[in-house]
Point group: C2
């Protein structure tokens, strides 16, 4: 670490410095640099200001700007403490890129309940808080009184977000999972998930969707089974299913699918003949597993772009455009 840096740490350059340097008033600097409409600035002055700003390395202080204008150009995206696997990641990247080109910064944050950190929405003063999960009324009130607009799902069920129905895409994926097993001749199904407490709300929401679609197809309702990869629960479950005549497993995600398939293989069952399994998310691992996992792939990038678009509409208080669903894709491999 060079020592000179600290010495150079003089006061940061403000608009006043630029003004003095360019021989104009501070307001003029603001008008030039912001291109404020309705203000006419002569070309020579404009150039002098721009030259001074560049020369001094002027960086507007966003904090002051936020205070003065009342807008921070920050969007806070609140998630439950989901594991951020790579699809969610590419979703966030897409959202971030899209919002970025409109001048907004996305801050994605996983809220871990009950660790006494100061709430992020207070420090950030975001223009908009988008939450993927319902927010307790108290916290919601706190956000609103702190000036932010909040977009959160109203139902307990899902990850629908305000007008933006993300859960549509999810339930569509489920319909494909269930439909695929049905089509392959499986009648008795179960819904399998890892006993990961952080995901339990999502799990039960999806399970409900699975039940609903099974009913539509005239199948018996698939029970929800939570498995733990640290014990024998998966192996036991597989044996039980085999005895009971269950032949199809709808997995919450590819991890759950892998666990089931692994247990089945170890139990000596034939996959997919004795037991067929469909995962969800199509993580890279799905195609490395032996046997390769059938799964559902969502175009999360497209989803992210759509989502960002909707967020931008919301920021401008424009009515939301029609939500064109992003169709999930079935990737058929060796487990069905």
């Amino acid at each position: 670490m060079e020592a000179g840096v600290e010495a150079t740490a003089r006061r940061r350059v403000t608009a006043a410095d630029v003004a003095k340097d360019a021989g104009v008033s501070r307001a003029t600097v603001g008008y030039v640099l912001n291109g404020t409409p309705g203000q006419t600035i002569s070309q020579p002055t404009r150039e002098r200001v721009l030259a001074s700003a560049r020369r001094l390395g002027y960086q507007p202080n966003q904090t002051a700007r936020t205070l003065a204008s009342g807008r921070s150009r920050i969007v806070l995206f609140l998630m439950p403490d989901w594991p951020v696997e790579f699809r969610l990641r590419s979703f966030l990247d897409a959202v971030s890129a899209e919002l970025g080109s409109a001048g907004y910064s996305l801050v994605a944050h996983s809220h871990v309940p009950g660790h006494g950190a100061p709430p992020l929405w207070e420090s950030l003063n975001p223009d908009l808080v988008v939450s993927a999960v319902p927010i307790e009324p108290a916290a919601l009130a706190a956000m609103r009184t702190s000036g932010a607009r909040v977009l959160a799902p109203d139902t307990q069920d899902g990850i629908g977000i305000g007008g933006l129905d993300l859960s549509r895409g999810v339930s569509a994926g489920l319909e494909i999972q269930v439909g695929h097993l049905h089509e392959r001749g499986h009648r008795r199904l179960v819904y399998a998930a890892l006993s990961e407490p952080r995901l339990s709300s999502l799990v039960s929401a999806r399970h409900r969707a699975a039940v609903a679609h099974a009913r539509v197809l005239g199948l018996p309702e698939p029970p929800l089974v939570r498995l733990d990869y640290r014990d024998r629960s998966a192996v036991d479950a597989v044996h039980r299913w085999h005895a009971e005549g269950v032949t199809g497993v709808v997995a919450y995600n590819d991890d759950a699918a892998a666990l089931v398939v692994g247990a089945a293989v170890r139990a000596g069952l034939q996959v997919p003949d004795d037991l067929a399994v469909v995962g969800h998310d199509d993580v890279p691992l799905a195609s490395m597993f032996v046997p390769k996992l059938s799964s559902i792939r969502l175009d999360t990038e497209a989803l992210g772009r759509r989502f960002a678009e909707a967020v931008l509409h919301h920021l401008d208080r424009r009515p939301l455009p029609d939500w064109i669903p992003v169709r999930p894709l079935l990737v058929r491999r060796e487990t069905t």
Copy 2:
């Protein structure tokens, strides 16, 4: 969405409102609420102020506070666009919790190069930017002139952070991987990674560490092999290794290990007799795979706590305590 909310959206309550309500000056409100040392406030006044604040639901405006005090109590953690898998996640959670209890908010952000979003450090005005990867001089200068202190690794190599040598833990893991294979009698090793461009800097750093440790043990240098799960590269590699007498694979992470093991099984090789594989990270999947993957587990939570502690020291400009390394753990399963 209830309609009443918008109507209720009156101006947010400020310290001035509280002052008026309590019949004191605005400064007094500040002194009471901040417990400013060196200011004596009588008990009755203090209680009146606290009561008013509570009654009105006063929330200090952090933006104004940041502007006035010059400190935002935000720490920005910059990562390359690593896939945020679950170990990194638990690391971040631990850091966040630890910083939170000291009144700081952690904002973790993956910088995706070249998407034209406004840089986050400007909007956030963080007290400290901690970067896991080296920062280009230009960006570093920009951060510093915008007032933030910056902690970034000086070497090109790794994820060492300022004085906090995270890379120590990593290379320790590698030594265990290489040492374990060596101990099991393997002499010709390769270092296998996924051809994920986002990880390439980490991959080459770790590969160098693997080479270094192999040399220490008197083994030939393990070459770096990048595999792609979307093509036949893994299967081809496995065949080649078998022909060349390579019997041990040090994998960059469990994904890479899974890919190699899967390819070996499909090629009809015996794991671990023909080919032994050690992964890294011990993701849940590692114990679900067939065969179960041997792997390295890092206590990322402990690592996170240590790290946060170091960050706090830095924030207070206290000298860093001695860095006690967090020892990685070898989890031996079926692939070695």
